[in-house]
């Protein structure tokens, strides 16, 4: 789960990680009041969406007067922001963060992520702040320093020294500040089961302090149960409504732009099914994993979500039952045809646990539009043909 910049900064503040003062607002009027409260003389008006690259997209602008704050708030609030991390349609800006301007001397990059190879958190830093870090990694990898921290010992002095000297920070006071900053960040990463913290840019001000000018945080969904305060920060308006609806039923759904709706159990088989369809000249309309506990209701819901997409010309149900029992899926398909008007051909391939029972159920139900796929290849071929109207 991701949170907004203003929420990440609320968490930073709790841990004493310095940030500029700021206020989140949802209207132009409140933006001006917030700016008055902060005092100025310079403010930054920032679009709050779950995507990076907001500045380049025109979603972050500097204001030098209250009139300018009003003007910019008017301009940014309600705009559809397109960045390299959003889709081509972009994201609607519904919230702004009005922030004090900072006296910037130097810009750095600092993040904490899980290193999957070392199986421990990694602090990553660079003197190339404000740049796209992927570009820095590609063009000048020597400008990125990495400091893995073994959680069994936690953040030690040597981690801090490696970081500070790596960034070329030798002045005693500045060194102390950056080490303290990083150690707090590591602590909040561990305490909150974060998946990622990224600060770009991290700035050094005229008086040698370090400030998180930006803040991006993602959390491990599996651990949200023990962090109700963070779970409460979820902003559903930032997520795809169909994906949210699907997740309520234990379904994992991602919309794509093809013609063949897919309903599959297991993420691997679901991707493999998409690959097979693609390889046979068809195009998948979605990824849909019905998960391990699929039943009649969830399958019916799956059909409903798939059929909302007007591009769908055929549906391929591909289930290899392990925990999922095929007879339940078969009942779900029958249920779905009762609840929803399934007006496209449905190709069904059921294999594994209780497959013979499932075949019997489907046969007895006599559903028009239903085509049996004998195996993965056969089912995919029939789905591709059906979508082409063959």
């Amino acid at each position: 789960m991701n949170v907004h910049e203003y929420q990440a900064k609320q968490i930073f503040a709790k841990y004493g990680v310095p940030t500029p003062k700021g206020i989140m607002v949802e209207s132009v009027k409140d933006a001006v009041t917030a700016a008055e409260q902060l005092g100025g003389p310079v403010w930054v008006v920032k679009a709050q969406i779950h995507a990076g690259g907001r500045g380049l997209g025109g979603g972050v602008k500097l204001a030098k007067s209250l009139e300018e704050v009003e003007e910019l708030a008017n301009e940014i609030l309600g705009m559809t922001l397109v960045t390299h991390q959003t889709t081509a349609e972009g994201k609607l800006v519904q919230k702004l963060y009005i922030e004090d301007g900072a006296d910037i001397k130097d810009e750095f990059y600092l993040s904490v992520v899980l290193d999957r190879k070392l199986e421990m958190p990694l602090i990553m830093a660079s003197t190339e702040g404000g740049m796209n870090i992927e570009d820095v990694a590609e063009k000048t990898p020597e400008k990125i320093i990495t400091v893995p921290v073994d959680p069994s010992i936690g953040f030690q002095g040597f981690h801090g020294r490696e970081l500070a000297f790596g960034l070329g920070i030798t002045d005693k006071k500045k060194k102390k500040n950056i080490i303290s900053f990083a150690s707090k960040l590591y602590k909040l990463y561990m305490d909150n089961d974060a998946e990622l913290i990224e600060i770009n840019p991290l700035v050094r001000t005229g008086n040698g302090e370090f400030l998180a000018l930006d803040g991006k945080m993602g959390f491990d969904n599996s651990a949200l149960g023990r962090h109700p305060d963070i779970a409460a920060m979820r902003d559903l308006s930032e997520e795809d409504p169909d994906e949210v609806e699907a997740s309520k039923y234990g379904l994992s759904y991602v919309a794509l732009d093809g013609e063949i709706g897919c309903m599959v159990n297991g993420a691997g088989l679901a991707m493999g099914t998409m690959d097979t369809i693609n390889h046979m000249g068809g195009t998948p309309a979605n990824f849909l994993d019905v998960g391990g506990s699929a039943n009649a209701e969830t399958v019916a819901k799956g059909f409903e979500i798939i059929l909302k997409n007007p591009n769908v010309k055929a549906i391929f149900v591909n289930i290899f039952g392990g925990i999922v029992r095929c007879d339940r899926i078969a009942n779900g398909i029958i249920e779905a045809t009762k609840i929803t008007d399934v007006n496209v051909p449905v190709i069904v391939r059921l294999d594994g646990t209780n497959a013979p029972e499932a075949a019997e159920i489907l046969k007895n139900a006599n559903i028009a539009n239903l085509i049996v796929g004998n195996d993965l290849g056969d089912g995919a071929a029939k789905a591709v043909a059906a979508a082409k109207g063959e």
Binding site: Q85, L114, S252, G266, A267, G268, L269, T276, F287, G322
Partner: protein, 291 residues
């Protein structure tokens, strides 16, 4: 022969009396797995599925001589359960539970390694040595005994692959579902050499996914150490960038961990790479015919 587990392997179940634990333990017993007991705190002394229940893993090990634990405890308790197994001298923990916090798995895996305990999973179907020992949730009937070793990140693709291999008239020695979470136990790197050393395994099926670089590491290892033919499929060639597909492993960000990159590395290592999982069975028949 087989790898890691066989008909003599003694297994306990952590989370034995829960809904999932009970259902699957019963299936494993029916398959012939030597489940010698289970652990559910506060239910020690009871009997479940005709086997003794213990309060702690240490007690279970002491009384049954079990070396393997199958873990079904709820996600929030997985880390604790794995560390308890390691402390009690279990040699292999097979973690089925889905949704264990990543931080807990970091700690648990580090602790397991310190105690020389191997782990498989979490969020995986488990391990099966065909017609001998099933430790997990896979449909046992599709795994016929044979000469093909299988290793997969994805559960349902494990079944798909095994089913095709068997339909081609071959069978499986051992199949291992390693899971696709950010932190997993045994991976290709450790399991491929086990198949290489197993005299009964004549070919290996390796199923991977987008995300991470385990398959790239595997390609390097295959080039250097594996002489047996390997067939591979990488799921997610058509997955859009930046989207998580079902589990944490299946995420592509930027250029790292794409299917194309992994397929190229495996091909360069001499692996027969198929573009669709529907072709796994035929590819296995082909490489075995060449031998």
């Amino acid at each position: 022969m087989s790898i890691l587990v066989n008909k003599d392997t003694k297994v306990i179940v952590q989370g034995f009396t829960g809904k999932e634990g009970s259902f699957h333990a019963e299936q494993c017993l029916a398959y012939g797995t030597q489940i010698v007991g289970g652990v559910t705190p506060n239910k020690g002394g009871q009997e479940h599925l005709g086997k003794p229940v213990f309060n702690t893993v240490a007690e279970a090990v002491k009384n049954t001589g079990a070396t393997v634990s199958m873990i079904f405890v709820p996600p929030a308790f997985v880390g604790d359960a794995v560390m308890e197994a390691a402390e009690a001298g279990i040699e292999l923990a097979v973690i089925i539970t889905e949704g264990a916090p990543v931080k807990d798995m970091q700690m648990a895996k580090a602790y397991a390694t310190k105690h020389n305990m191997k782990t498989i999973g979490p969020n995986c179907p488990g391990i099966i040595t065909a017609e001998e020992c099933k430790i997990g949730i896979m449909p046992g009937m599709i795994f016929k005994k044979g000469n093909v070793g299988l290793i997969s990140k994805s559960g349902t693709l494990t079944y798909e692959g095994a089913n095709q291999v068997c339909k081609e008239g071959f069978g499986i020695t051992t199949a291992v579902g390693i899971g696709g979470d950010p932190i997993i136990g045994l991976s290709y790197k450790q399991i491929l050499p086990m198949f290489e050393a197993d005299p009964e395994t004549e070919a290996i099926v390796m199923i991977g996914e987008i995300g991470g670089d385990l398959e790239i590491q595997a390609a390097k290892l295959i080039k250097e150490q594996i002489t047996k033919p390997v067939v591979a499929f990488i799921a997610g060639q058509t997955a859009p960038k930046g989207k998580t597909m079902g589990h944490a492993g299946a995420i592509v960000s930027g250029t790292a961990g794409t299917a194309a990159e992994k397929m190229a590395a495996l091909e360069a290592a001499g692996v027969k790479v198929v573009v669709s999982p529907a072709e796994i069975g035929k590819a296995v028949a082909e490489v075995l015919a060449k031998k």
